[in-house]
Subunit: 150 residues, 2 copies
């Protein structure tokens, strides 16, 4: 069976310029294919073993990259009319082999789990300012989402 | 003697929202006082003990924050007509006590030194796309800059 991407999710490999003194890691620029408009850039740390789930945004599109350590990102598509409605997809993001940008559209549920021993750092370049009123949450073990965190 | 800021350099404390699962770290948004326009966001790692110096940009303004570990940032102002021409200033940037945004204007020389045992991560949200033609370099021990790296 073909591994189905969630409709509207876009994945783009990112450049790592390796240097003994410390690497340069691209994220997003105004001429990137995924770029629409700039709202905000902020970081979210996630300690080893921690799960941060579930969240979704009604309006905001997120552009995520993981410059430190690695995480599992899980996306669930509950959108009526989406070609991938009801689907779940897992992604691995981070260093050194999965350094990429992933664009998460509004209205899908997503959650993070740190992988490895180190605290991971998620960078989020969103297209809108943070607004708690357009954000929703569910507990990690919610029965509204057919996914079991390990 | 008053500690003189380099003309055009702006420092802004940034919010860290502490959480046992991993903190949230603000950087810059479109309504930040320091924000002008979005060019690119990328990351530069700097390993323990490493010095990356000197660089300057002819046109680009950099907005820097250090979400992982800490660094020394040194700025030298060679600009004719600047009120702080010939001045050097050292800044400490990073976690946990110096998490802030610093805006570095074009034409000043700057360099970084990792502090502490851990690889530091510098995030740079610049107002223009990367363009090697508007960038200049000097060696860390250049006699054009009156600063001795330790």
């Amino acid at each position: 069976m073909k591994d189905i991407e969630i409709e509207g999710v876009i994945v783009q490999p990112l450049k790592q310029i390796t240097d003994d003194r410390g690497s340069i890691l691209h994220m997003i620029s105004k001429d990137s294919e995924l770029f629409t408009k700039f709202g905000e850039i902020y970081f979210s740390e996630i300690r080893s073993g921690v799960i941060k789930a579930w969240k979704r945004h009604k309006k905001q599109t997120q552009n995520l990259a993981v410059p430190i350590s690695k995480i599992r990102l899980v996306i669930f598509d509950p959108r009526l009319g989406s070609k991938t409605q009801g689907k779940i997809k897992e992604y691995q993001l981070g260093r050194p082999n999965h350094y990429m940008l992933i664009q998460v559209p509004p209205m899908v549920w997503y959650g993070f789990q740190a992988l490895g021993d180190q605290t991971a750092l998620i960078a989020n370049c969103s297209d809108q300012l943070h607004n708690p009123e357009e954000k929703e949450s569910l507990p990690a073990n919610s029965d509204q989402i057919p996914y079991q965190w390990k």
